[in-house]
Symmetry: D2
């Protein structure tokens, strides 16, 4: 089969590769019909993710059709159309039972990381019963691809951890795909204001069309002032960090209201300053989270019932043969205006 | 009347001072029968609290008897025995209505800070209806003094924010009065392990007698290793920071489990490092809080029903005339082994 | 001033009445600019509310302008435009502090019940600081009238108690004003399906235009079957009872899913059958609630930010002089299609 | 092997029966070392549980040693000492993922009901990975038996659903084994008062020794008055129904405070009256629940750390050969004073 293989920092190749086989009774083999590229894939290519070794098939998102299943799989049969969670959940360890499969003892984020992933014609999915989701009759396959990772990530790490509530005020720092996923999903809770902050006017325009009530371009500084001017000096109830650098985390500390939440989504490479000399008495909550994808069933229903129009995040479409071009397009998002790119097998 | 007056950094004096008078219809004048000294009073004396100006009567804890009340006070009458919250709550601003009077628009922590406090024979209590609590028949006055500030602080900022639960594991960094208050009150939720960490063996001994299941002296380093050896490599469910310096906050980050909480109580003078490069994916929650004292009614019931023996935190007793000596004793806690000192008017 | 006065079962009159005066320092006198009629007012007229004695000015909803305030009122001054909560909250009793002013020791639902109400040119509002809400600049007065009672009632008793969540399924039994208020406000949480059930096709049509995803006319029975056909045999996550008779409460028990909630809003005159012989093992929750109006601030923001279009519930407008005609219209809702009627002073 | 077999209403026999075999890759065969008898087993014997057919091996509680496991089982191996949950959880259906395995699509309460149970030398446990729990080193086997059903039932259905909290007041109606399990586990949350109500003075004595702060013998009526005399006219915060008849559910309605919870544990055979004509405005919550046993890990830690002394519920011990005598003893609890009887294989 064809598969995109990581060949070490800066290198990848679309190659012929043996089809995956069942390794455990709880496995399923899925024929991938659609997949996509994640910001994390770019991190791997930069060499920033040491757990991912050369030779690995990349990709942890996608939808497909069950090809065959192990003897321990009871939920799915050959031919079922399924959505693949980016998190493999054994469903039986302490963390899985607590609803936190991101830290599953033997699963977690392993697809396209420590085991072969979805940017291929076929993928082996461990713990299929608890890592695959049946696609509803008539579901839009492209929208479903976004349920593998980006929508649950924006929703769980940003919106739920951020305790967005009817009438509350939200600032989202970073209008990339993940920030926009938080923007889309936070509207499920009807906040009164959602302020989007980014350096790129194109993305801010997009944010407006996706429901942001205000946007702030942070290129010229005084960003905190601009935000406080919009929501009042008290600050925002929820600040969602969707970039992953010290400056954006600092901004969140400047704009969060007493009693508010900073919900971190960004993947950070460096420590940050936490201004406890000011915040110790501000009754704030700061949260971090690797997505658990436990909200896939909930989000599926909101997508099916058109409470969210997930398709709005899709900007480009490619065939698997063109996946290198897809990476090129996705990697140069500022010029190509790419958000999520769909790759069809 | 006699009152302890702050006279600028390093200076205070027990002086004759005019009795307070009603300034607003919502005020009450309370004759103080017992008060105590807080670590924050020492901070003021060091000059670390600029909002507290020389000339101020110190003290924000205490119990007493209502002397007279303003025309707008409906809950209390002359002669009522009351407990004074360290937080004055107007009961009507947005923050008070949200259960967060620590940030009350016109109240909050003002007693012994921006208005005269309780280390005197009489005190004016603003918003008496929502800042005083009726003392139950037969209540132990000394135990009640600890409900003004220290028990709610340990409980709200440490235990509730830290989400202590039956069977969970807790580490409390700092075995001073506030850490011990967290230790006492966390047992209301029946954790399976409570590890107390401090530099002082005397305090650790005390912690053991108050219910700590293990103690760690952090003098010689490797503290995180010692904690993880006790609870397992996963770490603790709740780490309570009860000191307020970068090193102790750093320790909390090393010992908190994925999915756990760092609940900060400490008053910090400096920013700290937050290791998001490691914690971004650890699903942790970090909380800060100035006490709201909204749990005084709940804690009152647990003290009355002997679920907590608050009196164990009291080590010394003085008359108001001896308050300078009381400060001396409380300020040299490592040699005097003082925890809370009771000052009787 | 002019006022609508209850004169005993079946009787009321628009009469000249002395203007109210301040009775306590915490009172405010409000000049009523707009009020409305509630189903409860009709109950009073039927003689079903013995606490309301003849001679009482009716009405517990409205907006107006502060005329003057008692010496204990600190939040409002003469000339402030305000929204009047149907619940008077002292803000200081145990129930108020627990966020449950419906059971306030000296307040609760007293306006137009045990003290004179809002269907008059002026009204005395006790505990003004905690029972009035400032109207935002530019607020739509008519929409604000609905925040006095009907929107918080639908939201608190139906939606919040019913734990409506993104993607969940909701059935609302009764498409009168209160059921429609639940319908409007439940959409703040983005359920995937909201099924409206009533005997009246006009109301069901209205429900559709207000966001119901399905409607069921229960005239011909088999209502439970019809609902289960829509949502699946498992049943609905939330069943909201907005009628108040045994038959509608019975229906809720037939359609609620295992793990679901029956949230009662209806005012019941008789006991009902609870089928514990079936439900004991169904993990259901049943809630009752007299509105606390603690969500007025939250709902105000959602109305201001256009997340809810409250005005859609208003069908008729009258002058205070025409209030008897307004009652006539509101009382014959099935023929007049009245939902909420606005009465302008 | 020996097994206790249900032979139709009123009949059972200890017989020789073939050893169970693995039927699915997710099964385990467990050699039972200790089991017990549940009130539900008596219900089956009366013929009240039609799903349980003659020929069935009874019993849904127990501990043992893993004999062998199916190919899909990854958590346990031969020789592991395990605790058997009374609820078989597939871990993959919607209900299991929501933490509600009591309603598992293919599991739930099936042991000793629709499949053979634990009152035998060996038992087949379906979905072993998510239905068995590893016994900690040094655990007391007898105490562990109580974690199969009775402690989680009292805790989940009574204490958690009842929202018992520090300082709150609790009444438990019924001092049988399940009511006493609620009594033991509610103390994990430090309520200020726990009132036990029963007809049997022996059981009430036992309740006192297990931590009840008051007891009321309901033989002579006026029970509600007696309870309200203890806690005040407002009523109790939590009323736990642990009997299952209309009279005891009625009592709960009389004693629950406004804002309180009635948590039903009792297995009801008949509908009950719900007095909505009074309760509609009392802001009460009523819950029902079939135990999910999701708190077994939490309870295990509280038993291991001696926060609960579960062994206090054990009154008698038998060998498997004597199981008919054990049933006799357990069935005549009022004369034998039996609570839980341990049966050793």
């Amino acid at each position: 089969m064809k598969a995109l293989i990581y060949r070490g920092p800066g290198k990848m190749a679309l190659e012929e590769h043996p089809k995956p086989e069942l390794l455990a009774p709880t496995d399923a083999i899925v024929r991938v019909t659609k997949t996509t590229i994640c910001g994390t894939d770019l991190h791997i290519l930069k060499g920033d993710v040491p757990s991912c070794r050369p030779g690995r098939i990349l990709g942890h998102e996608g939808v497909g059709v069950v090809e065959h299943v192990g003897t321990g799989v009871t939920t799915f049969v050959t031919g079922d159309r399924v959505l693949i969670s980016c998190i493999s959940a054994c469903g039986r360890c302490n963390y899985c039972r607590k609803g936190m499969p991101s830290h599953c003892a033997t699963g977690g984020w392993i697809l396209g990381n420590t085991i072969d992933g979805t940017q291929a014609e076929f993928v082996r999915v461990p713990y299929a019963d608890t890592s695959l989701y049946a696609m509803p009759q008539g579901a839009d396959e492209e929208a479903m691809v976004l349920l593998s990772d980006i929508l649950p990530t924006g929703f769980e790490c940003g919106v739920l951890n951020g305790r967005v509530a009817p009438g509350s005020t939200v600032a989202i720092v970073g209008a990339g795909p993940i920030g926009l996923a938080a923007l889309l999903t936070c509207q499920l809770y009807s906040p009164s204001a959602v302020i989007m902050i980014d350096l790129d006017d194109n993305r801010l325009e997009r944010a407006k069309s996706l429901g942001a009530t205000s946007v702030v371009n942070s290129t010229h500084g005084k960003t905190a002032d601009a935000v406080l001017k919009i929501v009042g000096l008290r600050g925002v109830d929820t600040a969602i960090e969707a970039v992953g650098i010290p400056a954006t985390f600092a901004l969140c500390q400047e704009i969060v209201a007493a009693g508010g939440v900073i919900a971190n989504i960004g993947v950070h490479g460096h420590k940050v300053d936490l201004h406890l000399e000011r915040l110790w008495s501000h009754n704030v909550t700061i949260t971090t989270r690797l997505v658990d994808t436990v909200t896939i069933p909930m989000l599926l229903k909101t997508v099916q019932s058109k409470r969210i129009d997930a398709g709005q995040l899709i900007t480009h479409r490619f065939k698997l043969d063109q996946i290198l071009e897809a990476y090129e397009t996705f990697g140069k998002a500022s010029s190509t205006k790419a958000l999520k790119v769909i790759i069809e097998a």
